[in-house]
């Protein structure tokens, strides 16, 4: 409710400022529009920016700053007050303090005065309950005291929020209004503001990458700084038993590579041959139907493939091999992952083959080569770097795939080369360690970040290498 009122105020200010800017500039021009450097619309927009932008920034940022400040203040004051009130055993629970403070602010002025100003802390719980709050009737005195000061701060913070936002709107409007002159370069002002906004938006990608690297790295360091863990064990041990603090990642690495390997064996020949057919043989009419169809298929959510592996492929394989592999197997996960990757590879490879200049093909035909000789001896060698890149990107995708393996690969960390046995992967263990019941700070949970960092580095290496190859390839033929 609070935010929406501010939003409405800001929107009204925006509209008012815009029309004021338009009118003022038109009036200053006195009927001769050519006197204006910028159009009245630009003057209006610039005035609207001056009026709304600072106020909007403040309105958005203040609640964050204020709540952080208030929490720090309450936590800082806690120690002294417990001592003063002789309740050393009371533990600071910010959540309770916040609930009580909210209740106090809903209390009528007279009651809250009794509780806070006259320090009748013991009856606070009952009064709040009587007012319809869901709260324990017995509240510890320091909690109520902290809540009282928090409630006062919050009231003040709301006043500041509204007051300063309103002040900024007025100040911005007046300052902007007074700046309007016929010679004012309003358009440049507007454009520079927009440009700054665009530039800030483009840093989002960097911030995301930075966020990934820093958070994952930070938690990984937290994991390895535990005395139960060591980097050498993580990297080289073959035992994965988190319950007993044995975090060897080798079985997971093996499972990941095993399943991805099966997937690549299925997907690479089928995907590449499909791409060859699409790029070199298919009739144009076939192409216009099949290519979008493949792209749609490439967008099918992986949960669908996972479900398929779990419900259809797993039982089917266990019937064929008459072995108890219903709990998931490397083969069923790998096969289905292969099916998932086929459209991905064929789509990328199709683009790569199409990028090979037509002149090379014509040259080859001119020498009397058949179509297949041209493809095998001219087009594919020319496209090889790009195709390598496509296959590597697909491999990176297979390694990072989650839902298929979570549903169909099983969770046994075995170092087995039998594709009918269950194996497990990085992603399966990340999911199971983080959706378990362990505390966030326990090594059992933190190990997920170490696994994620390993996974991130593996896929990043593949991606950088593959994208580099593909970019060089494209530039080569442009």
């Amino acid at each position: 409710v609070k935010i929406s009122i501010l939003l409405i105020i800001l929107l009204i200010a925006l509209a008012v400022a815009f029309s004021a800017g338009v009118r003022r500039s038109t009036a200053l021009a006195g009927g001769n529009r050519r006197l204006l450097h910028s159009s009245p619309g630009h003057h209006g927009t610039l005035l609207a920016i001056w009026t709304v932008l600072p106020a909007l920034l403040f309105a958005l940022l203040w609640p964050l700053i204020a709540s952080a400040g208030m929490n720090a203040y309450i936590q800082h004051g806690w120690q002294d007050k417990t001592a003063g009130l002789q309740q050393g055993e009371a533990v600071l629970n910010m959540e309770t303090v916040h609930t009580v403070a909210e209740g106090l602010r809903r209390l009528n002025g007279y009651d809250s005065k009794i509780v806070c100003d006259e320090e009748v802390y013991d009856s606070a719980g009952e009064m709040l309950q009587a007012n319809g709050e869901i709260i324990a009737p017995r509240l510890e005195r320091p909690v109520v005291r902290a809540a009282c000061s928090l409630a006062k701060l919050q009231t003040a913070s709301v006043v500041i929020h509204y007051g300063v936002t309103g002040g900024l709107i007025l100040a911005g409007f007046v300052a902007g209004f007074l700046r309007i002159r016929p010679r004012l370069r309003a358009r440049n002002g507007v454009e520079n503001t927009i440009l700054a906004g665009l530039a800030i938006a483009s840093s989002a990608a960097i911030l995301t990458t930075l966020g990934i690297v820093l958070t994952v790295l930070f938690e990984t360091i937290a994991f390895f700084s535990r005395e139960e863990t060591s980097l050498a064990d993580f990297l080289f041990s073959t035992e994965w038993r988190p319950g007993e603090y044995k975090f060897g990642m080798l079985p997971l690495l093996w499972g990941t590579l095993f399943i991805s390997g099966i997937a690549m064996i299925v997907a690479v020949p089928l995907g590449l041959l499909s791409a060859i057919y699409m790029a070199e043989y298919a009739h144009k009419r076939v192409r216009t139907v099949v290519k979008p169809a493949l792209e749609i298929l490439a967008g099918i959510p992986t949960i669908v493939y996972g479900f398929f592996a779990l419900v259809i492929v797993g039982p089917f394989l266990s019937r064929i091999f008459s072995q108890g592999i219903s709990s998931g197997s490397a083969l069923s996960a790998g096969l289905v992952m292969g099916i998932m990757i086929i459209p991905f590879i064929s789509s990328l490879a199709d683009d790569v083959i199409n990028a090979v200049p037509q002149g090379l093909r014509h040259g080859s035909y001119g020498l009397g080569a058949t179509r297949s000789e041209t493809i095998l001896n001219v087009v594919l060698p020319a496209a090889l770097p790009g195709l390598t890149g496509a296959v590597l990107l697909a491999a990176s995708r297979a390694i990072g795939e989650t839902m298929i393996v979570v549903l169909a690969a099983g969770s046994a960390p075995d170092l087995t080369a039998n594709p009918l046995k269950a194996v497990t992967t990085f992603t399966v263990k990340i999911v199971s360690q983080l959706t378990g019941d362990s505390e966030f700070d326990s090594p059992q949970t933190l190990v997920a970040f170490a696994l994620a960092l390993t996974l991130f580095l593996m896929t990043l290496g593949l991606n950088i290498y593959a994208l580099n190859i593909m970019r060089n390839y494209r530039e080569h033929y442009e």
């Binding site: 927009i194 041959l273 749609i296 479900f307 419900v311 990107l393 983080l434």
Partner: protein
């Protein structure tokens, strides 16, 4: 060497040479046919596999859109709503009466009278079964069996009937009530009667009752379209488990992505493509975006867990949190699509605009961006579709909770469509399995609709320069 070879072949008789050439040509053409055939086989196999995938999901999921209902003539006895004193005082039906009435008892009594009215049902079911706690000890086994025919959530149907027409109290109405999951499974042929009775969920006596209802003069048991799939929340009982919460949650998440990732991604791409100076830093951003698009989605989930949940203290399993994570994930996709669309607008457009005195900003926003809009929209729709189907990052931020209450806003606990499919597929039994497949079909249908929109956009507005 070559000269020697030529003179060698020159010695051979012309007929022999021709035959050899023909033989070579035949081999070359055979090789040609082989490559073409294997390429065609590959694409056929790929498309067949994908068709099998979709077909299997549909085959498994179609039964999930049907649900077994039982038609019962429910007598809304006044004593189910009023205490004896209130009846004497002829009190009016208030909200607390409506909420606290014993609907389950009414439904059960109606079931018994329907069963007892057919000659097949012997022995007759005692009415005391309607409240199993007070039933006679010898009847308890029978009571448990007969009560298991109706869904545990059948009472909500009756509650709704009374809500819609409070005048019903004291009258009789014929109502279609949810049958239990076991009855539903039997009707769909998922229960094998050859299995010994002790290992079956549905006992012989129950099967007889169902048959009695089926052969009743006015068919009392029937499969109808499963509206509950879209209107119910999640439930531990398969027959009353629905996707309403999941669909709402996914809707809020898509809204977040549309409001956050789309404008941000488009703005960033416009800056990088049209305004940014070409230097090492923008080169770095570009490499960065391409790599970000290939980072496994689960890593984004960990980022969301560490930043949004642990650090910024946003609620777990809230659509806003999930939407933020999905936004970060979709951002690179939208950026890349937008840049591709901008690149395809020829430079002459920009130069012409600048030539007639437009500023750089005007040339971009008045001319280049509108021309690139179809491509940008297509990329956006594809990005949003991908975000809609993404599961792994949502598992990381705790969107796996069992949520019964409908989320009223983006900060309430919720689930998502793909997560609901995931959760149900892990439940035992065919009832949940077919619902998981049905949820998957709903998801696929939405994705397909979005893809068609994207394709139409591209087809309608695409322009070749």
């Amino acid at each position: 060497m070559t000269a020697a070879a030529e003179s060698m072949s020159g010695i051979q008789a012309p007929a022999d040479r021709k035959a050899k050439a023909a033989e070579r040509l035949r081999k070359r053409h055979a090789r040609e046919a082989r490559l073409k055939l294997s390429a065609f086989a590959a694409i056929s196999i790929s498309l067949t596999l994908l068709a099998v995938l979709v077909g299997a999901i549909v085959y498994k999921g179609l039964p999930g859109f049907k649900q077994t209902y039982v038609r019962l003539d429910v007598i809304f006895y006044p004593h189910a709503f009023f205490t004896p004193e209130e009846t004497r005082a002829s009190a009016k039906l208030s909200e607390s009466h409506i909420v606290n009435a014993k609907y389950m008892k009414l439904a059960r009594l109606a079931l018994y009278s329907a069963l007892n009215s057919t000659p097949k049902v012997q022995p007759k079911i005692p009415e005391s079964c309607a409240e199993p706690d007070t039933a006679l000890e010898k009847d308890k086994a029978v009571c448990a069996r007969v009560n298991a025919l109706l869904s545990r959530n059948a009472d909500t149907d009756l509650l709704r009937e009374i809500r819609n027409a409070p005048g019903l109290a004291g009258h009789t109405k014929s109502v279609w009530l949810l049958a239990s999951g076991e009855v539903d499974a039997y009707e769909k042929g998922d229960i094998d009667l050859r299995v010994p009775e002790t290992r079956r969920k549905l006992k012989d006596q129950q099967v007889n009752w169902i048959k009695a209802l089926e052969t009743a003069p006015d068919q009392r048991i029937k499969m109808r379209f499963n509206t509950g799939l879209f209107t119910f929340s999640d439930s531990s009982q398969p027959e009353s488990a629905g996707l309403a919460v999941a669909i709402t949650g996914s809707f809020f998440m898509m809204l977040t992505v549309l409001l956050l990732a789309v404008p941000l991604g488009i703005a960033a791409a416009i800056y990088l493509q049209e305004f940014a100076p070409e230097n090492a830093f923008t080169g770095f951003i570009e490499v960065n975006i391409n790599n970000l698009a290939a980072v496994p989605s689960i890593v984004f989930g960990l980022l969301g867990l560490a930043i949004f949940v642990t650090f910024a203290d946003l609620p777990r399993s809230a659509p806003l949190t999930g939407g933020l994570v999905l936004s970060l994930m979709t951002l690179p996709t939208i950026m890349i699509a937008t840049r591709t669309a901008l690149i395809s607008v020829p430079g002459s457009i920009r130069e012409a605009a600048l030539g007639v005195g437009a500023s750089k900003m005007q040339s971009v926003f008045h001319h280049v961006v509108p021309l690139a809009m179809p491509g940008i929209l297509t990329g956006t729709v594809i990005g949003v579709a991908r975000a809609l189907g993404e599961t792994a990052p949502l598992l990381m931020i705790g969107m796996v909770a069992f949520v019964y209450r409908m989320p009223a806003g983006p900060l309430d606990s919720s689930t998502a469509l793909p997560v609901a499919a995931f959760m149900w597929s892990k439940e035992p039994g065919p009832e949940f399995m077919e619902r998981a497949a049905a949820a998957t079909m709903v998801l696929l249908g939405l994705m397909f609709a979005l893809s068609v929109i994207a394709a139409l956009l591209r087809h309608r507005f695409e322009r070749k320069w």
